[in-house]
């Protein structure tokens, strides 16, 4: 009995790496979490949960190979792994298959995650991903009519921000229509004018980048914002405030935020 503090000391000496790895995973710090999980795996290569989380981190950081994806898919079948971890593995593998265009596999994995998780955020994400997947592939709606009906009735739970999070990057609604004239102007400048005259702007971000940011944030108001930048550019260089060295060249910082802070969040969105 009196030895218990000693045992707890030994136990604590073993557990911090795994506890830290899980915490970092929950924080969404994928790079650091992956590093910590690797530390855990070096000490305990048989730790299956750690292996699954490492593979999820690899997916999140774009460092995954086909073996990682296969392992995640197989994890769903592993009875000795916590059900919650299996659901997470299914969800992440499903997203990767969706990204790769394999909608059927993605559907099966999302359904597994949706039906097996007790974690509310994962439940919502899996449901929302299924909803969006079926929106893009209506034929999947016939696979399980009861599930389709269930998702349809839960639609109000999938708010705008959740849908944005679950959407694949290429399905992003993109910039508003009012940003298009600015984007076309910059595309024309970058393809036709810039190659001939080279990089001439002395500011960071460059004038074309500044214009693009202004148009994406404020729509057509980007034009007067950019005109104001042209008026000011020689003064910025002359005053030599906020210099930044970029590739051996001194440039001057003039962020958009310093000139639109009084406009609020933007008029375009």
């Amino acid at each position: 009995m009196w030895l218990s503090p000693l045992f707890s000391h030994f136990a604590n000496a073993q557990s911090p790496a795994w506890a830290l790895a899980r915490e970092l995973f929950e924080n969404g710090d994928w790079v650091a979490s992956r590093r910590e999980i690797r530390r855990v795996l070096l000490a305990d290569p048989e730790n299956r949960e750690a292996r699954i989380l490492a593979d999820v981190c690899s997916l999140k950081t774009g460092q995954a190979d086909s073996a990682s994806l296969e392992r995640l898919e197989q994890a769903v079948e592993m009875p000795n792994v916590e059900l919650e971890t299996r659901a997470l593995a299914a969800y992440e593998a499903g997203r990767e298959y969706w990204r790769m265009g394999d909608s059927e596999k993605a559907y099966d994995l999302f359904v597994y995650a949706y039906r097996n998780t007790e974690d509310n955020p994962l439940f919502l994400r899996a449901g929302c991903s299924l909803f969006l997947l079926m929106k893009g592939k209506p034929e999947l709606k016939t696979v399980s009519p009861s599930l389709t009906l269930q998702l349809k009735s839960s639609r109000r739970l999938f708010d705008w921000s959740l849908q944005q999070e679950c959407m694949l990057p290429e399905e992003d609604a993109g910039t508003g229509i009012l940003a298009k004239p600015g984007e076309w102007t910059v595309a024309l400048y970058r393809s036709q004018v810039s190659p001939a005259i080279g990089m001439r702007c002395s500011c960071v971000p460059s004038c074309s980048e500044y214009f693009l940011l202004a148009c994406r944030k404020h729509g057509l108001l980007g034009f007067p914002i950019q005109a104001d930048r042209f008026f000011r550019e020689p003064s910025i260089v002359q005053q030599r405030q906020n210099p930044i060295e970029m590739g051996g060249v001194i440039k001057y910082s003039d962020p958009l935020e310093a000139h639109d802070f009084w406009l609020g969040e933007g008029v375009d969105r």
């Binding site: 000391h9 604590n12 911090p16 034009f223 007067p224 104001d228 008026f231 000011r232 310093a258 009084w262």
Partner: protein, 287 residues
């Protein structure tokens, strides 16, 4: 029997010694990372130390340090989460935690919250902390345009604030520019910029607008409608730029005035933990 106990005690002592030595090494790594400004890595090392620390107070100290490193990394949410843990482990860390929470609130542009935290520190026992908090409080109030309260905060701190109050008075004596007037004057190209004292920008604005207006009239007289359309498009951009610039120049002018005053009030003050004392938190202030 006695020998058995002695061997066991010796083993325990050796184990604890080895454990504390390992902790020292990890602590040094975390401190070195912090000194190298690798705040993210340092925060993780401090979290590792906190998870491994056997005593609540030590855990709290390490969590505070992790929060400090996250604050330096401008990861305000994680910093606050670490401070929550630190304060639950050791409630005495709430005072130094308020300093970091104020900083985090400012990083989130939540000046009301920052004012609350710095305001809670102006009655603390540590004189240096009081001066730091008072100056921060004054800077926040200047940004809110509440000059009297800013001056009161400095005076209440009881520090030698003559140069600080002089800076605040100098700010009070100056006049802000009206963005509305700047915008209206911008209808005449360049006048909006000139109103806020940006004469070079005003001249460039005037020249560009004049050239393009001349181009418009010239192409219209010659009935070159294609060229007229192109030049008009550019002129519309320059002209709207003149109005926008008039408004923005006034905002820039006002912001510059505030920034200059706040820089005077805040100076180069900063604080950092005494690394020799870690995980006990003792702050060293620099003014």
């Amino acid at each position: 029997m006695r020998l058995k106990y002695l061997t066991l005690i010796l083993c325990v002592a050796l184990q604890l010694l080895a454990g504390s030595f390992a902790g020292e090494v990890d602590k040094r790594l975390a401190i070195e990372l912090a000194n190298e400004n690798d705040h993210h890595a340092a925060a993780i090392e401090f979290r590792r130390l906190a998870l491994g620390a056997p005593v609540q107070e030590r855990k709290g100290g390490y969590y505070w340090l992790a929060g400090y490193q996250y604050a330096l990394e401008e990861n305000a949410d994680m910093s606050d989460e670490m401070l929550d843990r630190a304060e639950s482990m050791d409630p005495q860390l709430a005072i130094s935690g308020s300093l970091l929470r104020g900083r985090n609130a400012l990083a989130r542009n939540n000046s009301d919250e920052a004012e609350f935290y710095y305001g809670s520190l102006v009655n603390s026992a540590d004189e240096e902390m009081v001066e730091y908090a008072a100056r921060k409080l004054a800077a926040i109030r200047i940004r809110h345009g509440d000059v009297d309260s800013a001056r009161a905060a400095i005076e209440a701190a009881g520090a030698d604030g003559s140069s600080l109050t002089a800076s605040i008075e100098e700010y009070r004596r100056g006049d802000d520019k009206s963005p509305a007037v700047g915008g209206l004057l911008g209808i005449v190209p360049g006048l909006g910029h000139a109103y806020s004292g940006e004469y070079a920008n005003a001249l460039r604005c005037l020249i560009l607008n004049s050239l393009f207006i001349y181009g418009m009239t010239h192409t219209a007289e010659k009935e070159q409608w294609g060229a007229f359309a192109v030049i008009s498009f550019f002129e519309l951009t320059w002209y709207s730029g003149s109005i926008y610039g008039g408004i923005d120049a006034a905002h820039r002018y006002n912001r510059r005035r505030i920034t200059d005053c706040v820089d005077q009030v805040e100076g180069d003050m900063d604080y950092s933990p005494d690394w020799e004392m870690v995980p006990t938190i003792r702050l060293e202030f620099v003014f």
